[in-house]
Amino acid sequence: MSLHKDTFHILVALAAHDRHGYSIMQDIAARTGGEIRLSPSTLYSAIRRMLEDGLIEELEERPDPEHDDERRRYYRITREGRKVALDEARRLEKLLADARATGLVPRKA
């Protein structure tokens, strides 16, 4: 089963840092060159789903007090989340390898 695209992006965004929603959105936008900008509703529906599936968790403490101007919620990737993200990365890698093997190679820009 492949992960939902948004889910994978969010997991990647949270892989190195705990983040709040806006930060997740910015990170994804930065990594995709502004191509993917999640709307608030898309982002939080995904977050709700991932919380329920145990891929991420909500933090009690605020890791970034300086920017904590509002009572934002912060999220952290769980062990399960990491495993799922890793599996997805492997799956994509294998897919890419298969593509390369058949001569389908992306040209460097």
Binding site: P40, Y44, S45, E70
Partner: protein, 864 residues
């Protein structure tokens, strides 16, 4: 705050509350940050639109998601506790199923519009008076009323019958209708082919014409459109020209598939001959009451104009649909009321089950509540469980109704209901099921849901630690529900008992004639014949029937008891001649010799008819009660009577015999005394025969013998006298069957309810029982304690139910009229119901009582 942000915030109300409370703040914050990024107003606008559109897409998804989640929780909860869930579904299926089944009948009979154009304009017109009782319109009165009235578009007379259709030497008896030419204008039905009868064709001595029903046309004429204008042979050898084919769904009156014009002879249809029914169509804007007033005034006028033919009549105009349903309406309304009780008991039962469930789950709820699940979420989860139970129960109920409706419809004898009545479910039934299911789910589910969520966390955890169940607060409610269930069961069971006793009383009453081992049939020759030939044929038929092996005797009659009747007024020689208005009505039956012997009606004085009777001088046989009334203290034999309007001067008939009273007319009461005349006096083409047979079913041999005798004879209505009685009593039987079914369902559900409450109480008090036993209480003592508690509930329910039954009896005089040989407050029935309930209820408490003694006292003490 920026107005754009404020607008976005208000959009968030589209989300479920939980989602909004949790993420709403962050979502607006995120949008605010996002808007700050954008320098250009256009970019900001696009970002805002993107966010808003996202809300519109995702909010419904979140709702859906949450419902699915609730369903998942509910399903898991139900799978954990299978027994209560199964019990709940069954109880609901019974409640919803029986209600739906009855509603389907109500819908078919009372709610569906009649299959005629603008059915609300149709009215049924009937004369009524002290002697005729009502139900018909005399032809001359019809002509006057039709001509003079201003409230009807048109007015018609009709009657139903059976017509013999002769195709290639084979006779088929077909339900038929005869009507005036105006009938089809009144009904507003268009022929499929051809045209309806003209006024000319409806005149006495007019041409023989016939209209066929579509099914008959397809069956016997292969749907040949060239059939119009062809002739067919009808009963009596008439060659009739086919002028119309009527559409398939048209059946009027009754089951008619073939129609002929009435072609009434005014000389034979006087103002005192009542056998035709009237139907009219109101002019638009005219109310039934206005038409009624006008018709009454016109009838007064007619009465004044024809004083000799006046019998004190008046005329009634009814809404046609209401009139057609007048017999079934009270039955159905009563049944709907009764089934409402069944549904209420089901709801009470379900509520009880859910309350137990709620208490049992109090601990889980408390824990989840402590972990932050909102109260609304908890309530919703519980309600979702009720909804799931409700849906499953409703599906079960629909299945039950689907199976029950045809079975119920089969209790109604064929031909009793007009053909247009159909019990296929339609949107009304669908709506009803949905409303009942939702209503009972809410009724039964809300209180338990709140009670479940209201649990005080600390209390529940403490209590839970002790007994693993909680919720003492609703114990009284559960007891009240059980008491209510028992009381409602008493009501339904008393009703069932009374109806069954009525049915049995009527079935076993003395009718004055033999009802066992009697087969009756109607025989109609294909040709009209002169009286002598016809009489000879009747004699031959009697002989043929009587010589069938096993047959003891056979006789002909104009009227099968309880099925046909023919009333006439009576004048007694030597007594003052009364006007038509005051003359007594008698039941007038034409019979062959041997009729009394065949039916076991005792001959008390004089003699039976013999083959010479029927010529001059005319003779008659009367029943004992009539003889005693008019000739008290002397013999009736030799006295003279005559029939019909007193002024008509019909010939005097000399009484030659007196027979026992026979309830020919009704099983409930002797409404008319019987007078019998010899059949040779009348040339009756179609005659019924009664056959006294031994054991076994002689129908086949009777048919074979008559067919061998003359294959052109049409034989119909072959039915045993027992079947006639059952048919006459179908309403009582229908009622009794359903009342017993409802009573049984109520009883079972009340027992399930009691069992549930007692089991729960015992499990709740297990600890206490253990300590009691540790302190020396015996198992018998514990058992008694539980049974006494149960007995208190039962007694309360019985008292309440009996009181309710007595109060009900007080307010339902119509019930008293429906009963026979038993009063509404029959002590024996009440006692029997109370006994039955008390015994079964105590039996249902035995298992919990036994379980109470299984507690291990050591374990109980250890936990203390």
């Amino acid at each position: 705050m920026h107005p754009a942000l404020r607008l976005f915030r208000s959009l968030l109300w589209l989300y479920p509350a939980e989602f909004r409370e949790h993420f709403g703040q962050d979502m607006s914050q995120l949008l605010a940050d996002r808007l700050r990024e954008e320098r250009e107003p256009l970019g900001a606008l696009l970002a805002w639109c993107h966010a808003a559109a996202g809300v519109l897409i995702h909010a419904p998804e979140e709702h859906m998601q949450m419902i699915l989640q609730d369903v998942k929780y509910a399903w898991r909860a139900m799978r954990r506790e299978k027994m209560p869930a199964i019990a709940a579904v069954l109880v609901l299926a019974i409640g919803i199923g029986s209600t739906t089944a009855i509603f389907t009948l109500v819908n078919g009979v009372l709610l569906r519009p009649l299959p005629f154009a603008a059915p609300e304009q149709l009215v049924y017109v009937t004369e009524s008076g002290p002697v005729i009782g009502g139900g018909a319109v005399a032809y001359p009165n019809y002509l006057d009323l039709r001509e003079r009235n201003h409230s009807l578009e048109d007015f018609a007379l009709y009657t139903d019958g059976i017509t013999t259709l002769q195709i290639s030497n084979e006779a088929e008896r077909i339900p038929s209708g005869q009507g005036t030419a105006s009938l089809f204008r009144v009904l507003g039905v268009r022929p499929l082919l051809g045209r309806w009868f003209t006024e000319d064709e409806d005149r006495h001595g007019g041409p023989a014409v016939v209209a066929l029903g579509e099914d008959l046309w397809r069956r016997r004429f292969n749907g040949d459109p060239g059939v119009i204008g062809r002739t067919v042979k009808l009963g009596g050898g008439t060659e009739a020209r086919i002028v119309a084919v009527m559409p398939r769904d048209f059946h009027f009156p009754g089951l008619a598939e073939l129609w002929t014009p009435l072609q009434l002879d005014p000389r034979n249809n006087t103002r005192t001959d009542h056998w035709l029914e009237g139907i009219g169509r109101l002019k638009s804007g005219v109310a039934v009451a206005q038409a009624q007033a006008e018709f009454r005034a016109l009838m007064n006028q007619i009465e004044r104009e024809h004083p000799l033919e006046s019998y004190g009549q008046t005329v009634n105009v009814f809404d046609f649909g209401e009139h057609a349903n007048r017999r079934l309406r009270p039955i159905l309304v009563t049944l709907l009321g009764a089934v409402g009780f069944v549904l209420l008991i089901a709801c009470a039962n379900l509520m009880s089950l859910l309350l137990v469930k709620a208490s049992a789950r109090a601990r889980e709820m408390a824990v989840r509540g402590a972990l932050g699940a909102s109260r609304s979420r908890l309530v919703r989860g519980f309600v979702m469980e009720s909804v799931l139970l409700g849906l499953m129960g409703a599906s079960g109920g629909v299945l039950l109704a689907w199976a029950a409706v045809p079975a119920l419809a089969a209790l109604v004898p064929e031909g009793t209901l007009p053909r247009w009545i159909s019990f296929t479910p339609d949107w009304r039934v669908g709506l009803f099921v949905a409303a009942v299911a939702a209503g009972s789910g809410i009724l039964a589910g809300l209180i338990p849901a709140f009670s479940a969520s209201r649990q005080n966390v600390v209390e529940s955890l403490k209590e839970g630690g002790r007994t693993s169940t909680g919720g003492a607060g609703t114990a009284w409610l559960r007891s009240a529900l059980v008491i209510g269930e028992i009381a409602a069961s008493v009501l339904l069971l008393v009703g069932a008992g009374l109806m069954v006793r009525t049915l049995v009383n009527l079935q076993n009453r003395q009718t004055g004639f033999r009802t066992d081992q009697i087969t009756t049939l109607q025989v109609t020759p294909s040709q009209r014949e002169d009286p002598a030939t016809a009489a000879a044929r009747v004699d031959r038929i009697r002989e043929e029937l009587a010589t069938i092996p096993g047959v003891l005797s056979a006789a002909g009659t104009s009227a099968v008891p309880l099925m046909d009747n023919w009333g006439r007024s009576l004048t007694v020689e030597g007594r003052p001649v009364l006007s038509l208005k005051d003359a007594p009505m008698i039941q007038h039956t034409v019979v062959t010799p041997g009729y009394f012997r065949t039916l076991g009606v005792p001959l008390l004085q004089g003699r039976d008819f013999d083959d010479r009777d029927g010529k001059q001088p005319p003779v008659a046989i009367v029943d004992e009660e009539l003889a005693k009334r008019y000739w008290p203290g002397e013999s009736a034999v030799g006295k003279r009577v005559r029939f019909g309007p007193p002024e008509a001067n019909e010939p005097w008939h000399t009484v030659v015999g007196v027979v026992g009273v026979a309830y020919n007319n009704s099983l409930r009461e002797l409404s008319r005394n019987g007078v019998y005349l010899p059949y040779r006096e009348f040339n009756m083409r179609s005659l019924a025969f009664v056959v006294h047979t031994g054991a076994g079913n002689p129908e086949a041999s009777i048919r074979a013998r008559l067919r061998a005798f003359d294959r052109t004879l049409a034989i119909s209505r072959v039915i045993t006298m027992r079947q006639v009685v059952t048919r006459v009593l179908w309403q009582e039987g229908f009622f009794a069957t359903l009342a017993v079914a409802f009573g049984a369902m109520a009883l079972i559900m009340a027992l399930v309810g009691l069992y549930g409450v007692m089991s729960y109480t015992v499990s709740r008090r297990a600890h206490e029982m253990g300590i009691r036993m540790a302190l020396g209480a015996t198992a018998a003592g514990i058992r008694r304690m539980v049974l006494v508690q149960s007995a208190k509930l039962i007694a309360a329910g019985l008292v309440l139910g009996t009181m309710a039954a007595l109060v009900m009896a007080e307010f339902t005089p119509s019930l008293g009229r429906a009963l026979y040989g038993v009063t509404r407050t029959d002590p024996a029935t009440l006692a029997a119901v109370a006994g039955l309930l008390a015994l079964t209820a105590l039996a249902a408490s035995l298992v919990p009582a036994q379980r109470a003694t299984d507690v291990d006292p050591i374990a109980a003490l250890r936990r203390e």
